[in-house]
């Protein structure tokens, strides 16, 4: 039970008036970011990161993680009221949320969405509280080969679990690694891939990439689709909230299942978006009202929201315990840790106890505060969406430019941001995934360091990656995932003739 006492110590750290204020500010900013199309959790946090440089790391991470929770909550508001998913992970929420709002049950849909978001996050935080220290303790035994194997596993799981062309996932990831390599080599001090341009010595900051890819790219996409906001009015009063809460316990099975789906997808870098779709699909398949899904079923709102929040929250577990973020937003938070001089990974639990447990405690309180804030301020945020897009679009471009400039106080970064914006727009249209690029850009140097250290130990012999059962298992799993698109196809080819001869055979998996 050392975790519990550490957690209570964490609560004591968080419960200072200043930190509570930052929490509320963070949640409100996060909801705003979630509501505005074109601003997402990842680039919202990236833009606001420089504002926190003067704060203590604990206060800074509390505010930034609260922006993240707020963004997770905010996505649901636009999905339900306007049929516009403010965030990719709230796409599945539109399927039943918007019909409910059209039916005059917007208040119920919003209450159900917010409450199940809270439940998903809560389950995930409980999991982090007890699992993260164990994982971190285990990871303390890791050497460079083990760490590189874990990085390899992270990246290979994108290829194995991603939808679409595995070549595109690989290309996106390799571009991230290549961008990370630009600049001064940390080991030899040589300049790499700078092509004689002095400004490139700094390398590409992932914050610039995030702001461009997710901010500018998203605005271009929203513009292309021709945005028009026609929304339902949102009236939430305590009576609706209480009535909805009375109905929610009926769906406890859906909640638990969705939480588990979300936690799994969050820890493996599947992310919140696939988690919400998977959970919606499972709920549709398993519910007795499955056929009615899409017409305004409350279960259809509960399932994706619970899973998205559980995934978004549990993405922080590998970041805290191993130093490997499970989502682009977690990657931005990790970048923040590095800037504040903290070394994310297993040692954080030993050396920075206050910080880690303060963060975990703020996850509990932040989500509770988030629930209260969104339940009371929905009409306000819905009103923001009635502001003409002709005001919102340039303001978001300005905010992105400010965010890109403040990272290094360099104008060149603002130009890079525009370039990344155009790249993000084309990549999204061509189905290149952006998350692997960002994660590779963040983790590139660390992955390279552990690879080179491992190679130094073995004098260039790659067999060090399978030299003991632990590293061998992780590497094996990584390779299995990397080649899963090929293996899966082979299995299907072998199974096909069998299936036609033994039609009665039941699949075992």
């Amino acid at each position: 039970m050392t975790e519990l006492s550490a957690l209570f110590h964490g609560f004591a750290v968080v419960l200072s008036p200043m930190n509570m204020l930052l929490m509320l500010v963070g949640i409100s900013l996060g909801v705003l970011i979630g509501v505005l199309p074109g601003l997402g959790g990842a680039n919202g946090v990236a833009i606001l990161l420089p504002l926190t440089f003067t704060m203590s790391p604990t206060s800074a991470i509390i505010m930034l993680s609260c922006i993240y929770w707020g963004a997770l909550f905010g996505g649901a508001i636009t999905s339900i009221l306007f049929n516009i998913p403010g965030e990719p992970w709230s796409v599945a929420t539109t399927f039943d949320g918007y019909p409910m709002a059209q039916d005059g049950r917007a208040g119920q849909a919003l209450t159900a969405a917010f409450t199940s978001s809270f439940v998903g996050a809560f389950v995930a935080v409980v999991m982090i509280t007890f699992l993260a220290p164990v994982v971190a303790k285990f990871a303390l035994k890791f050497g460079p080969p083990e760490f590189f194997a874990v990085y390899l596993l992270t990246f290979c799981s994108f290829v194995g679990m991603g939808k679409g062309s595995p070549f595109k996932i690989l290309a996106s990831m390799a571009i991230g690694f290549a961008l990370a390599a630009v600049g001064m080599d940390t080991v030899t001090g040589q300049l790499r891939l700078t092509f004689g341009i002095p400004d490139l010595m700094r390398g590409f900051d992932f914050l610039i990439a995030v702001i461009g890819l997710f901010g500018i790219g998203e605005i271009l996409l929203s513009m292309e689709e021709g945005l028009a906001f026609t929304g339902k009015s949102a009236r939430i009063n305590p009576k609706v909230v209480l009535e909805t809460w009375k109905q929610l316990p009926k769906y406890w099975v859906t909640s638990i299942r969705s939480s588990l789906v979300g936690i799994w997808m969050g820890i493996t870098p599947g992310g919140a978006t696939p988690a919400s779709f998977m959970s919606y699909g499972l709920a549709k398949k398993m519910s007795k009202d499955g056929a009615k899904f899409g017409t305004g079923q409350m279960e259809g709102v509960i399932a994706p929201e619970t899973a998205a929040h559980a995934a978004g929250t549990s993405a922080l577990l590998p970041m805290l315990a191993l130093g490997i973020p499970g989502s682009p937003t977690a990657a931005v938070l990790l970048g923040g840790l590095l800037i504040w001089g903290l070394q994310p990974g297993p040692l954080l639990f030993v050396e920075q106890k206050d910080f880690v447990w303060g963060l975990i405690a703020s996850m509990y309180l932040g989500n509770l505060a988030g629930l209260l804030v969104v339940l009371t301020t929905v009409p306000l945020f819905a009103a923001i969406l009635r502001i003409p897009f002709a005001i919102i679009a340039p303001v978001i471009v300005v905010i992105c430019a400010i965010g890109a400039y403040t990272v290094h106080n360099a104008m060149l970064d603002v130009w890079f941001m525009l370039g990344f914006g155009a790249l993000g727009y084309i990549f999204k249209k061509l189905d290149y995934p952006l998350a692997p690029l960002v994660l590779a850009l963040v983790l590139g140097d660390k992955a390279e360091d552990s690879f080179r250290q491992a190679m130094l130990v073995s004098q260039g012999d790659l067999s060090i990656m399978v030299s003991n059962p632990l590293v061998g298992t992780i590497t094996g799993l990584a390779l299995l995932l990397l080649f899963w698109p090929v293996i899966g196809r082979l299995i299907a080819m072998v199974r096909k003739p069998k299936a036609s001869t033994f039609t009665t055979e039941q699949p075992v998996d």
Binding site: P166, A171, L220, I391, P394, A401, L418, L430, R452
Partner: protein
Amino acid sequence: MDSQDQASEAEGHGVPTFAIEAVMALLVLALGLVIVVASHKLGAGWTSDGPGAGYFPFYVGLILCISALGVLYQSLLGKNRSHGIFVTGEQLRRVLVVFVPAVIYVLAVQFVGIYIASAVYIALFMVRLGKISVIKSVVTAVLINAAFFLMFEVWFKVPLAKGTLDLLSFLGY
């Protein structure tokens, strides 16, 4: 990236998505080759004190080349290649309406600084595209920038780009 070049091909004739996909794959392949050559020059092999500076990027470049060839194959010869139109003329117009002013805006920031450039940019955007009255647009743009100024310079002490001309130097920030 050269979004405009690629996208403008699509205008009018409606270039199918797989063609843009192939062009993109060729660009990725070119990037991969550049990285492979550059890291080979840096020393992609084993040096006296361990792996050379180009060791890791060399393989990254190789992966880029392989994946680009894979995408190229899928886009030109694959079974599921997309014949849909990449972008219609109307869509392209709407995208450029945001992107081109954004480029001009960043150029302006370089000279007159972020506050003046942003105020003009927001006001013009509102008047031209939102058909909002000039007075309303100017007031909104100035208020938004005043808020940014207070938040960044005054409260959080984060200096923003003032541009080479630094027209707001009289404010003392």
